[in-house]
């Protein structure tokens, strides 16, 4: 049975007091806290198994390689990929999207082509395409967002055409928490022969994600937002697409053979197998091990339970925030169409003031643009405050947050 109070016992940091108040961590969309199981796995790796992976014959390297490969398998199974060949470990979502932009986009996008990007994207799913468009001279078509923060599917379907080569959409908005129907997005894209890259940074940690059911071509997400360490992230790619792609970076792990031809005086290079072809250099082995433990932890809880808990908490918080006269919430009012993220402002105060005030009471929230400036501009917002929940948050914490919010209103 899902019990957030029991779960909290696994998170040492939650015992901290900040500014003489118990810590309330509501900045989970930025990064999550880590359970002792993950902390212990990282510690255990460095204490007992640390070595570089692959190609060494010694025992420690074998152990490290085995753990690192198991981590890929665990993640593959978590999102129902076809196998670890479809799972590339990188630094995070941003690097994963950049990999697709440079390894796939640079070779496949040309003048006259179109890339379709939703306006609710995190900068990480906009900027790489903007940079690349300056090199390859393709067009970017942005899809509007409705007034309630949901994706305008009609506009999306109108924009996607046979010129579209790739569609870039987040599964869950990091601003509003809106869950996009990426299955529909993928279907429409595929009808026009386009690929899809889905930013899963806010979905994979919070709801069940099945890449085969969604039929997406690429899915990017970060370990640190799902109880894992920072510095480790994932790119899922369909095997046949990854096989056709050339590497992103060169050196180390991604090479099978480099041979020097004395006649041509050039090197001929053979790439390593998937997924190593895309993991140049020494990978973050320990990060992978920590991520594996985080995935195991989430699987023990059950992703349906994670989603239900956050949805319940969001609904409760939104309902209670309505008690506050000066608080304005953005995005859909129906908590069931979103994950545990609530953007808001308090009349007469900047979002940073609100966040500092809450910090005074040990409540950690975020303020600013949340790397979604175009969406803020669309909503004519100077910035916003944001609370975001996870498995260890409770209704009592929401109650305390509301108490402080009411105090802020009185300022």
């Amino acid at each position: 049975m899902f019990d957030p109070y029991k779960i909290r016992e696994d998170f040492p940091i939650l015992k901290r007091r900040i500014n003489n108040h118990p810590l309330i961590y509501f900045d989970n969309a930025a990064t999550s806290q880590k359970p002792k199981q993950v902390i212990e796995a990282v510690k255990n790796f460095y204490e007992n198994h640390n070595a570089n992976v692959h190609r060494a014959v010694h025992t420690l390297s074998q152990e490290a390689s085995e753990l690192y490969e198991k981590a890929h398998e665990e993640v593959a199974s978590f999102i129902n990929a076809n196998g670890m060949e479809e799972i590339v470990f990188l630094r995070g979502t941003t690097e994963a999207i950049n990999l697709v932009a440079y390894a796939w986009g640079l070779r496949n996008l040309k003048k006259g082509d179109e890339v379709v990007v939703s306006l609710m994207e995190h900068h990480s799913n906009m900027v790489p395409w903007e940079i690349l468009s300056k090199i390859s001279e393709f067009n970017i078509e942005y899809v509007d967002v409705n007034d309630d923060g949901t994706l305008n599917y009609e506009a999306f379907e109108d924009i996607v055409s046979n010129k579209t080569k790739i569609v870039c959409v987040s599964h869950v908005s990091n601003f509003s928490g809106v869950i996009n129907d990426v299955k529909r997005v993928a279907r429409v894209a595929h009808e026009h022969g386009a690929l899809t890259i889905i930013d899963g940074a806010q979905s994979v940690p919070h709801l069940p994600v099945n890449v085969r059911d969604l039929d997406v071509d690429f899915l990017a997400f970060s370990g640190h937002k799902m109880l894992g360490p920072t510095g480790i992230g994932v790119l899922f790619g369909k095997r046949e697409i990854l096989e056709e792609m050339e590497p992103f970076q060169g050196g180390g792990e991604m090479i099978r053979e480099v041979s020097f031809d004395t006649v041509t005086r050039r090197c001929s290079i053979t790439w390593n197998d998937l997924p190593w072809k895309f993991e140049a250099g020494t990978p973050d082995v320990c990060g992978g091990v920590g991520l594996m433990e985080a995935v195991k932890y989430l699987r023990r809880i059950g992703m349906e339970n994670v989603k239900a808990h956050e949805c319940g908490l969001t609904e409760y918080a939104m309902q209670r925030m309505l008690e506050c006269q000066k608080v304005r919430i953005y995005g859909p009012k129906d908590a069931s169409v979103k994950c545990g993220i609530i953007p808001f402002n308090v009349e007469g105060l900047s979002s940073h003031d609100v966040a500092l005030f809450l910090d005074n009471y040990g409540i950690m929230t975020r303020s600013g643009f949340h790397c979604a400036q175009p969406l803020h501009e669309m909503f004519k917002l100077k910035s916003s405050a944001r609370v975001s929940f996870y498995v260890y948050n409770t209704r009592e914490e929401v109650d305390r947050f509301i108490e402080v919010l009411k105090e802020i209103e009185r300022v």
Binding site: S350, S351, L356, F357, N360, G368, F369, L381, K382, S383
Partner: protein, 89 residues
């Protein structure tokens, strides 16, 4: 010779249309910094000893008992530096 850096641990420039500066005072110097600031700036409003709404030479800012301050509508870091020098030194 004392400097602003003796008191300030970090300066964060916020994102958002309001380009605010958030000052985080060094933990062991925050009481002293708060005392100095409260002596020089005009208190417009205060909520017990937690938050102070202040003005100093036409600059409005908010000071938090936790050792943080938020400065608004400053032109740039240079102006912030000048205000901090006047307030702290």
């Amino acid at each position: 010779m004392a400097s602003v850096e003796d008191y300030v641990a970090r300066i964060e420039e916020t994102c958002g249309e309001e380009r605010d500066f958030i000052i985080i005072f060094k933990y062991d110097k925050k009481e002293e910094a708060i005392k100095k600031i409260l002596k020089k700036a005009k208190i417009e409003k205060s909520i017990s000893t937690i938050i102070f709404e202040l003005t100093f030479k036409n600059v409005s800012f908010r000071l938090y008992g936790t050792g943080k301050a938020i400065f608004r509508n400053l032109k740039d870091r240079g102006e912030l530096q000048r205000v901090l020098i006047d307030l702290l030194l």
